[in-house]
Amino acid sequence: MQSLFVKPHWIRCFGVELRRFVALCGLVMVVACSRSGISADDTKAGNASNGVVAKNSETVAAEGLLVEFIDQQLRQAWLDNEILPSEAATDEEWVRRIHLDLCGRIPTLEEVKSFLKDKNPRKRFVLIETLLADEDYVTNFTTIWTNNSIGRATPRRVSRTGMEKFYREAFAKDRPWNEIVVDIVTASGHYEENGAVNYTLAQMQNQDDGVQLTATTTRLFLGLQVQCTQCHNHPFNKWQQDQFWEYNSFFRQVKKMEHRKLDPNTGGMVDDYSEVLWQDFSGPVYYEKRSGMMQVAFPRFEGHEVDPGGDTDRRTEFGRLLTESIDGQAPHIAQAMVNRMWSHFFGYGFTRPVDDMGPHNPASHPELLDRLSHEFVASGYNIKQLIRTICAAEAYGLGSQFNNKNKSDDPAAGEIPLFSHLYLKSMQAEQMYDSLIVASNAHQSGRGGWSAQEEQRQKWMQQFVVVFENDENDESTTFNGTIPQALMMMNSDLIDKACSIERGSFLFETMSKPGTEPQKIQELYLAALSRYPTRFEISKFQKMLSGNSYRNNKLDGYQDLFWALLNSNEFVLIH
């Protein structure tokens, strides 16, 4: 029984091995090419890049080895669990997925067509590089980290614009992750001049002695859920109540100041700007044990004591300690980011939830997490390199359909994820918005229209803040579809616009062009679902379009078809 199973698997793996070899060669070459062609619109970024170019071949070889390590680790787990991975994703499925994951939107009609036409065997790696250099990559990760940092509903007296500006610059300049985090956790100043402070302002909505700031910082950037220990010792591990308050004591020198100004028109006072300032604080913090006994906690980070005197800038010390490795382990911020990034692409991280790491919650692939984290540190916390590595892994290129031999690999049912097929993810609200915009402008060759629509997008987003708001810490892998969300997809102005048949619209242009009915159905499929319709689908819809309802009004028929495509599960799910 066992041998019957293993043999085909081994053969399969060997086949995969060959493909991987070819593909990895591709990766090495592409990376080398893209590296030398760096466009330095910013001198600082340019200088930083030169360093990378110099160690080009070395880096690239390391990346290749790392990808191989990922593949080997995952395959071992498949073997151990007696499952077979799914077939590789089709180009159609993959091109849609990579656009949504990297750029936060579906590909345009042109992008789909040219990718499918491309005969280059290394075209997937080429596309990863192209998209990493795309403006939409910056927008996408700016959106994600702004939401992580201040939520979708902007809290009072916090500048979303400021926060976005900070992340936009960080991702555009490809700044190392450790520098970004340190900037965030140590930030002071005016909320638009130094956008990084908005993270802190958002966590200081209540006068709570930095409790929220402590809880969010450890969870978001360190992947540690110490907030339970605010009130009691951790039930499952060695974390004690004092640990929360030790972390907390780093944030007691932070002060929020909300300025007001005179409105010359009304003569009344109105809100002006907010800022984060330093305030005097020295010595321990006091907290209450469950027994009612008062305790003290001093600033201490993973065993590193910090001078509790008034001269110490505690947040600066915190920032410094963040990057220290602990007992040979990669720093928390590296592990947390690797875990989060993995989960971004695969729908599940190595731990569940993705931001609850620690001895009580063992990782699904501990060696892999460990190695990726160390390599992330070694790369100088290079985000794009981390992304490139994950996207190049065999598992990311697998199809989302399962087979008889990996049906059990179903984390939605509570199983440990083995990544033997790509798990479905639901589009986030922003992905949905941006994708609908792409679909409705599908005929226009020039892209970039949507980033100019940021204000429009924000306005639209606000009405769905409640509809889409996940609970904090929630993995957004389940379709949290609600009736308001469905009503929005069915009836909103946005969908009306996408399905418009006015002159200049995608549907109008497509319909006015010469072409057969099957060709037009095909265009609609490509624009909405990034794939060709099957012969079966074409004939079915041809039949419907010539039915009674549409015989005299073909345009209505195409409009309804496009509406149906944009409302389908296949559209809203990332697969």
């Binding site: 209540n206 149906a564 599960n569």
Partner: protein
């Protein structure tokens, strides 16, 4: 068309068929019996209407006046239909039906910030970074909504509301928000409605093939949500939101001009009228919002001229209307804001935030009404000696009991932490008898 409701025939069709048949079959009486029975069944269903006073109402000027105290303000108390219970002179209509209402005058709730106070009063829990607690409407939706098979519209409707969250109970139980005219965001236009059948037929084709493609449960979940949304869009019960249409399709009588007038022709009054219709079709929890209570300045003028007249009409009308329809014993009324306001009157003739001693109004629900429970001292600054101080959890536990939700219910947060209903609050003894 499978995205449709599966019953094959909805009630309106049924009625139309029967109406045609009525010419030949002398059974019209039977029909109206069916209709009447359905109404009886529904009116026996438990419901809660929460009147949410955003901003924090000065209960010292409304429900717990302090004549003769320096904090007493400008208003005088008047007697009510409940012996010994006095309320503000600006609530004369409410005073007349006070045998059906009760006051809890010894609320002491510690949270005096708008956001935190709202969270605390609506969930019974103080905000906590580890978990989002469900607002009580979501709890009711979760506990009662799933068993109301005949209910085609959401089980928790918030009129003019917004901030309530379903938290760990999941988005299905989040409030369905409408404005007081019954307008639903992204409801289909006439054009959209006429195209829906064709579109859904096409959608069905696309969705089915994706569902058959071995990709797990999510594609199916998507289809389910759409089915619910379409059922909602097509449901006759939707017309309960719309005063002009409700009568035609639901068999509810036309709301007379006098009724509309009685509730008050303002957002709050018309919101309450809509709430009554929603309860009639089986919605177990309706929240009606009235804002503008954050009265840091000019409190008495605003109360006298704007807030209290509206409040008076609305509360009196809904209570009397539910009573007249035999629905009051099954519908519990709760009136509250995020906190009360300072007994001390500030230099702008306003009152600031105050959570230490204030009042909540309850009513209906089969409670022992017509009483005031607890008391504050002569200046209203603290709970009187010998009075029990109540927390929001006690209010909601009382509501739960009135609605038949077991008070010892425990939910589980997403992290597996047990969460007691209403944070372990205790039903108020005097009210449940």
């Amino acid at each position: 068309m499978s995205l449709w409701n599966n019953y094959g025939m909805n009630r309106r069709h049924f009625m139309q068929h029967m109406a045609t048949a009525a010419a030949t079959i002398p059974a019209m009486n039977f029909l109206s019996h069916v209709q009447a029975n359905a109404d009886v069944v529904r009116s026996k269903q438990k419901a809660c209407i929460l009147m949410w006073m955003g901003g924090g109402p000065p209960t010292i000027d409304i429900w717990d006046l302090k004549p003769g105290s320096k904090n007493g303000g400008e208003f005088q108390p008047i007697d009510t239909a409940a012996p010994g219970v006095q309320i503000s002179e600006h609530l004369p209509e409410t005073a007349k039906i006070f045998q059906d209402l009760s006051l809890v005058r010894s609320m002491s709730t510690r949270e005096a910030d708008h956001g935190r106070g709202r969270y605390y009063m609506q969930t019974s829990f103080v905000p906590n970074p580890t978990v989002v607690h469900p607002t009580f409407g979501s709890v009711v939706s979760y506990e009662l909504g799933r068993n109301r098979k005949a209910l085609e519209i959401p089980a928790f409707v918030s009129i003019d509301g917004g901030a309530g969250q379903a938290g760990f109970l999941g988005m299905t139980h989040a409030p369905f928000v409408v404005d007081n005219t019954g307008r639903i965001r992204n409801a289909p236009t006439e054009e959209g409605r006429s195209r829906l059948d064709g579109r859904l037929t096409m959608l069905e084709e696309i969705e089915s093939s994706f569902m058959a493609s071995r990709r797990g449960d999510l594609p199916m979940a998507h289809k389910d949500v759409y089915r619910n949304a379409v059922n909602l869009m097509k449901s006759n019960q939707m017309t309960a939101f719309d005063v002009a249409k409700a009568e035609a399709s639901l068999g509810l009588e036309v709301e007379s001009e006098a009724t509309k007038e009685a509730y008050g022709k303002n957002g709050f009054g018309q919101g309450l009228l809509m709430a009554r219709r929603l309860v009639q079709v089986g919605v177990p929890f309706v929240e009606v919002n009235m804002g503008g209570w954050d009265l840091h300045a000019g409190v008495f003028d605003t109360l006298k001229n704007q807030r209290l007249p509206q409040l008076d009409k609305g509360i009196a009308a809904i209570t009397a209307d539910l009573r007249k329809r035999g629905m009051l014993d099954n519908t519990v009324l709760v009136w509250m804001g995020e906190f009360g306001r300072t007994p001390r009157i500030n230099q702008d003739v306003g009152r600031d935030h105050w959570a230490a001693s204030w009042s909540v109004l309850m009513g209906g629900g089969g409670l022992k009404n017509g009483q005031a429970i607890g008391a504050t001292d002569k200046d209203g600054v603290q709970i009187s000696d010998g009075s029990k101080a109540y927390l929001p959890g006690d209010i909601w536990a009382t509501v739960a009991m009135a609605m038949g939700i077991p008070v010892n219910t425990v939910h589980t947060s997403k992290r597996g932490r047990p969460m007691k209903l209403a944070n372990g609050g205790t039903p108020i003894q005097e009210l449940i008898g």
